[in-house]
Symmetry: D2
Amino acid sequence: MQHNFEPSIYYNNFGSYEPVLTIVSGDSVTTSTADAFGNGRSGEPVAKRSNPLTGPFFVEGAEPGDQLVVHLQNIFPNRDHGYTMSGIAPHIVDGDFVNELPERSIMKWSVDIDDGTATLFDEFAQPSHLTVSLDPMLGCIGVAPERGQAISTATSGQYGGNMDYRLVTPGATILLPVFMPGALFFVGDGHAIQGDGEIVGTGIEISMDVTFSIELRKIVNAHWPRMETDSHIIALGNARPLDQALQHSTTELVTWLCSDYGYDVRGASHLLGQALEYDIGNVFDPAYTVAAKIAKKLIT
Amino acid sequence: MQHNFEPSIYYNNFGSYEPVLTIVSGDSVTTSTADAFGNGRSGEPVAKRSNPLTGPFFVEGAEPGDQLVVHLQNIFPNRDHGYTMSGIAPHIVDGDFVNELPERSIMKWSVDIDDGTATLFDEFAQPSHLTVSLDPMLGCIGVAPERGQAISTATSGQYGGNMDYRLVTPGATILLPVFMPGALFFVGDGHAIQGDGEIVGTGIEISMDVTFSIELRKIVNAHWPRMETDSHIIALGNARPLDQALQHSTTELVTWLCSDYGYDVRGASHLLGQALEYDIGNVFDPAYTVAAKIAKKLIT
Amino acid sequence: MQHNFEPSIYYNNFGSYEPVLTIVSGDSVTTSTADAFGNGRSGEPVAKRSNPLTGPFFVEGAEPGDQLVVHLQNIFPNRDHGYTMSGIAPHIVDGDFVNELPERSIMKWSVDIDDGTATLFDEFAQPSHLTVSLDPMLGCIGVAPERGQAISTATSGQYGGNMDYRLVTPGATILLPVFMPGALFFVGDGHAIQGDGEIVGTGIEISMDVTFSIELRKIVNAHWPRMETDSHIIALGNARPLDQALQHSTTELVTWLCSDYGYDVRGASHLLGQALEYDIGNVFDPAYTVAAKIAKKLIT
Amino acid sequence: MQHNFEPSIYYNNFGSYEPVLTIVSGDSVTTSTADAFGNGRSGEPVAKRSNPLTGPFFVEGAEPGDQLVVHLQNIFPNRDHGYTMSGIAPHIVDGDFVNELPERSIMKWSVDIDDGTATLFDEFAQPSHLTVSLDPMLGCIGVAPERGQAISTATSGQYGGNMDYRLVTPGATILLPVFMPGALFFVGDGHAIQGDGEIVGTGIEISMDVTFSIELRKIVNAHWPRMETDSHIIALGNARPLDQALQHSTTELVTWLCSDYGYDVRGASHLLGQALEYDIGNVFDPAYTVAAKIAKKLIT
């Protein structure tokens, strides 16, 4: 079934809130997200900052230990402007370079949806003009965390959350472990584009039209968000410091290769030692995100 | 001038040792490297483990504060087999997964230079056969460290070293800060291929034929190794933990954009926030390596 | 006013739950806590594991930005046995030592309240007998986190939480920032004694009798839990990795010296550079805890 | 035998340099150290900055795998003034607090040896006067590192080095693993006093009179510097980040309890879980230092 859902309520935590819509495995949903500052498609405030979420969507029959398979069919800006912060965050540069950083203030970009570009004019910067191509993604995607927790959209964990990973784009599939009955799926924090690490603390923050479909999978061996793209399978780990996020993602990828692709740990070590790829999702949020990837062509 | 240099002495530290050859800016050198275990092209030991270096090459006129521009013209295996370790290193997985890891022992791969592939047969692994395409690179590349230090080829620093970054391939240019008179350039630790992170502690360790040319550049503002490929400029940071390696690489890339590409820090923040790419070099060695990259097409 | 409160409901998150008791500034409360496994004074289960909390206590008039001043008057075991885990956690030793660690299972200690000692007999350990002196403390102490979050008692943050800091003992005063109306104060996770770092993941987990009094202070400049003992003022930081917990605690101590003790940052640097003391609270939980301390005799 | 050795040459690396004196097990040496800036007892420069070392002392018969037992008999300032830096280092506070820090410049303290105090007057600080009691210690103590390395006195490792741990005081014994023939022992970087962490990057840097005696112990199971004080045995770990320094120190203390005190890992876990103490040596240098301690009264 295809649902059209227009949000009227937004949450700023991933938590076990009253569902806004109930769906069944196989359904797809077309909806929208406000930007990280709470502004909607009109550019006017519709929600509280920061990172208001659309959802939760209750998936019939989802139980702790299951996995949601979320196909991201469309993620696209629904207005003509977005926002970034102006300076690299201090914890991302050397301590003795912090004094060189510009003040952090909000910058407005114009977004040309037809051209597929975003442009900034900043008279105080060298150069004063910057144009980049759109590459729309969702910063926040996840489910309600375990044990009835309600955790700020500033951060992320095994339930997903504010991972700010730039491969969360249309065409990708994200697989989320289920911790609470109904899974309680959320999306939000769209970026017209974002660099690795989200080092200024934002992508180009913009409201989005979003379409996804969800299947429910009855498995029990996944502990972290996973993804599939055309070319790769990807395991995500969220933690501070980066070293620990990397440990989580690596362990999860090994576990996945062993459960689904015919590897044992020794065989996975041989493969990953010579062919593993890592992406850095974000190094800005309270939990950082690392993606451990292996090319599908090497494992199938 | 073109030099052909066959090494007869190998060092296991990056340090201010007696030069094996003196060259001038513009010269190229064809030489070879032993593998990380000290075995040469014959497969027999020619040097002490681990990571014996070819060099140092003294560059006439190089002074502290200068930069060596090293064009990597050829890096290619010169024998038919290489070695890896069998298991992921314990500090790269979750603590409670360490007991699942296989013992770490040496594995022999056959290397087919004509086909451009490497193949492992390991009867104790699932699957027991693995074939990967060659993508030759150098794990160790660098100069003598500052203040007369002599530092093990296990690790890396501002002088380069054992960075184990898989874009150190033929066609790339690496730019190294000079700390000691003559720079004292070294190469070693060739890998037929290596995954991101070098998570088993090795690439496919193999002896190599290597050709490079060196130009001397009189600049003073570089603090870390930098690279240029066809598509990107890249700044490298070497440190533990990953967070700090990332801080070094990010700071160095911002500095570089400001000195050479017409950016100020504010402009560089706008660009990198939305277009920066990070690679993880290694997470095995005492110092980890992170690469901060920006596409050339965005900055020129 | 003196309240006697016997808990009948326990929460496993720090969150904005319905208060169990409302008090006013100056009141004291005598109550009890279940142990980390949910067992009460009888030794029988009274709550869900792990780290069930007594509370929340609503403090009349407490508003975000205020500070709770909690005087810990009594914390003492109310039964004759406690529990620990048997092995050091894997992430606290070198990666290549993990395989040497014993399995983690629950150990029962007998506690002699009159003698003030706890004794373990473990036939599988060398030595098989161990006796330590009691030094009772609370692992969990805190308030409801900001923005309506509900966060597991596994971890900690600016609101306090599961800090597992062994100076949270009778006689100490803990000062907690208020994030939600009424503050919503909780206690739990008593330890008969605990080493620095809580490296086995537990102290001697035991149910406690607890008496505290609370004053409300209308201040706005505290961001982290603070403490006062007879000899020291102490600022706590909770985060991973240790480096970040240490940054938080150091920054908070400097801020405190500047707001309350007549220092500027330069003067605080001179003092702390030569006289600062650090304690490590825990290195087991998702957020680690570092305490930055300065002797009162040096600042007053 | 008692040696009186007045240094005339100083090294700025821990390395395999020509010995300045050869001693035998049981000998004691009275010597002096220049301060971290290279100034001697006269206050005038006698060596290059930073952290010039007195030594190396060659210990007859010392072989790799042995252990030097160094009794620190006297460490005391030999002049009337010392130096510190004026501001906390940026990487030790929160990123958004770095802009609050004062510039880092050198401050001169007057040292009253008879009173046992050091006093700073800084008209730009609040308060402008600060007096602290002397607690003399050595920042640098160690041997030549393995494999002929020569490593800057900025940092530390398994060989000791610039650990900046404030319990390296008169009366303490430090036990150092031997990596090179003769051990090649060095001392330097005296501090009239230093806070935990060395957060301004210095103690009160001062030249010292130093007396130590050395015994040679033929053991093979120590991997890191160890210490004994009247009350504790202590294992040191040097690395970044703090988490890793802590892993090294904890592992070394467990190993030590097992080899010398009748514990197995399970028994050591029971003890350390409830009675371990940690100190933070430094969080300023390239390698941080953590000390894992256990009270002697609990283990003997």
